[in-house]
């Protein structure tokens, strides 16, 4: 188990947060920290999420996240 940071760039839709957090819950993750911020483009937001899990589970989560319609980019960073 390690702390993993997931960085997401997404469309700033009203349902984005609920989709992202519900996906974490569905896949059995407990979110440790969560930062939600604007970007210079007002249509896009950035999220920084940390979770504690096996790296491979983090990779699987990343694949699930990228399937969300409004997520443009997602990356995994081992901290």
């Amino acid at each position: 188990m390690e702390t993993i940071k997931i960085v997401i760039m997404a469309n700033n839709t009203e349902d984005l947060l609920i989709r992202v957090t519900s996906l974490f819950h569905k896949r059995g993750f407990r979110i440790k920290t969560f930062v939600f911020d604007e970007t210079t483009s007002c249509d896009l937001v950035k999220m920084y999420i940390t979770v504690v899990c096996d790296y491979s589970k983090g990779e699987q989560m990343l694949r699930q996240l990228t399937k969300l319609y409004d997520i443009k980019e997602a990356d995994l960073i081992a901290c």
């Binding site: 609920i18 519900s22 569905k26 319609y69």
Partner: protein, 552 residues
């Protein structure tokens, strides 16, 4: 063209070549229903008994036709009634579009009558959902919904439209039917690796899932099986991807699958897993699953790779293209020794032939199978009867098998059969249990009203057979809450609902009434009285393997 939101909904549905929708009216979709009224010659609306039935019907319509099924419901209870149907379609990757009305925006967020946040409600059971605040976005949102539903790995999409948005005016321009996104092309290096693995394999098995049906790749599977001389095994969702008469067909493996199919898989040195997600009902204990085999996993959805099984080669992308490439590039093989071994396994562990002296599920299903025309669509509910049908019915072509594989929804069958009958306009079979049927028999009313040729075969064992079986084997025989103590007379019930009812207690009865049922107009219910003691065996215990299959 200046149109109202509701008119736009109709126009976009027409643009998407939708001819039939299933639904149920209510206060906040009345504006849409008014347009449906005016467009009856363009779109047929089928009123069901409830919204769950409508959602399963749209799902069933999609499963047999390959088109996007459409369901419409009102806000509040209309939307909540859709949830099980959406979840069922989501689990089995069925493309569907659900339209719900909602309270006008000025009331939104005030807990007004029949208000529900349908979008949040359906986050966990849809591929995506939309809440349309602005009529100017309505047409493109709907087009997007169709695109998302059918692109990549298909699934249900919900569009929630407030009542005032349905009434607002907006300019509208017709577009072409929304095409699905191009599927990702499978990577050549990985495919070449797979070709190499197949060429080296001496005991190959192809493991087909629902992805084969969704991608219309049945022909490719057959050709690949013949070229690399592999046997073909199925998950529940993959059944019908190959004619059961094909010599390489082995049927469904897994928890309630055929023992020979599971055992052959366990002996394989290569498993070519196509459009299958290694759900635990199919694999059992994943550590013991196909221990001796290397695995090639082909799927359109990258997140299925490494989710449960780490394959030796993962191919993400269009299944049809990948299968074609493999077939064209592998050597023609003759795995004679493997075939001999498999034939032996089949002889030892294969199903014993039916014995018409008995009136048992196997005999019933096989007999009906012989009487109905080839290619008849077959739906089921959930329970023992579902497993028996999966095991004993010989499917001859894809998109003729409708079952709730992933979600296991009792109550799916009648709605699904209605959807299939509407799509095919042909006789459609439903095998159900007396428990499941009681969850959705209200939809017989829909079938009667529309004269739909659905033949319902109730394998009536007087109890919740599957639960009884599990309690018998795993809970010390404490069979509880399973006795349906049926006082319901399903034949009379058929009559009350405007359908035709028959009862069969033995094979002769069944053959006679089944032939009649094929001549009858509208829905028919055949109540088959079977023993309450039947089990669906063999059974691999949960998280089990071929080493601990229960046979009696």
């Amino acid at each position: 063209m200046l149109l109202t939101g509701s008119q736009i909904i109709i126009e976009v549905l027409k643009e998407q070549k939708v001819d039939v929708i299933f639904g149920y009216p209510g206060g906040h979709v009345l504006s849409i229903y008014d347009e449906l009224f005016k467009n009856q010659d363009r779109i047929k609306h089928i009123l069901t008994a409830d919204e769950q039935g409508a959602s399963h019907a749209a799902d069933g319509y999609s499963r047999v036709s390959g088109e996007v099924g459409v369901v419409i419901a009102t806000s509040g209870p209309g939307a909540t009634n859709l949830v099980t149907g959406l979840a069922t379609a989501f689990s089995d990757s069925i493309p569907m579009v659900a339209i719900t009305g909602n309270v006008p925006l000025r009331l939104s967020g005030t807990d007004s009558f029949q208000e529900i946040d349908a979008m949040s409600l359906t986050v966990a059971v849809t591929k995506h959902s939309f809440f349309v605040r602005n009529v100017e976005k309505l047409a493109d949102t709907m087009r997007d919904a169709f695109r998302i539903a059918k692109s990549g790995r298909p699934g249900p999409v919900l569009i929630d439209i407030p009542h005032d948005v349905q009434k607002e005016l907006c300019t509208f321009e017709t577009k072409e039917k929304q095409q699905k996104d191009e599927n990702e092309q499978p990577p050549i290096e990985e495919m070449n690796k797979a070709v190499e693995m197949i060429n080296q394999a001496k005991r190959p098995v192809i493991y087909c899932g629902g992805g084969v049906i969704n991608s219309n790749s049945a022909e490719e599977i057959k050709k690949l099986a013949e070229k690399c001389d592999a046997y073909v095994v199925f998950s529940m969702m993959g059944l019908s991807a190959m004619s059961a008469e094909h010599p390489k067909y082995l049927g469904m493996a897994g928890m309630y699958g055929r023992q020979d199919a599971s055992r052959v898989m366990a002996q394989a040195d290569l498993v070519i897993a196509t459009g299958v997600r290694f759900a635990e009902r199919g694999t059992g204990d994943k550590e013991k699953f196909v221990e001796k085999a290397k695995i090639i996993h082909l799927d359109i959805d990258i997140s299925e790779h490494g989710k449960i099984i780490n394959a030796d080669t993962e191919i993400t992308g269009d299944l049809k293209t990948a299968l074609k490439y493999l077939e064209e590039n592998v050597e023609q093989k003759h795995n004679t020794q493997w075939s001999e071994e498999v034939e032996k396994i089949k002889q030892t562990y294969g199903e014993k032939p039916a014995d018409k002296k008995f009136f048992r599920p196997k005999e019933i299903i096989e007999t009906i199978n012989k009487i109905v025309p080839k290619g008849t669509a077959v739906a089921t509910d959930v329970g023992q009867h579902q497993m028996w049908t999966a095991k004993y019915y010989s499917f001859s072509k894809p998109r003729t098998w409708l079952t709730s594989g992933g979600f296991g929804t009792m109550g799916f069958g009648m709605g699904a059969a209605i959807g299939a009958a509407v799509a095919t306009k042909q006789k459609t079979l439903l095998f159900t249990g007396d428990g499941s049927f009681c969850m959705n028999m209200n939809e017989v009313i829909t079938a009667s009203r529309n004269n739909l040729p659905v033949i319902v075969v109730i394998l009536n064992n007087g109890n919740l057979g599957m639960i009884k079986q599990l309690q018998t084997f795993f809970y010390g025989g404490n069979c509880f809450s399973i006795d349906l103590g049926n006082k319901t007379d399903f034949v009379k019930l058929a009559d009350a609902f405007g359908a035709t009812g028959y009862r069969a207690k033995n094979m002769e009865d069944l053959e006679i009434v089944m032939k009649k049922a094929l001549q009858d107009i509208g829905p028919v219910i055949i109540d088959c009285i079977i023993s309450p003691e039947e089990n669906t065996l063999p059974m691999m215990p949960p998280n089990g393997s071929v080493n601990n299959i229960i046979t009696k």
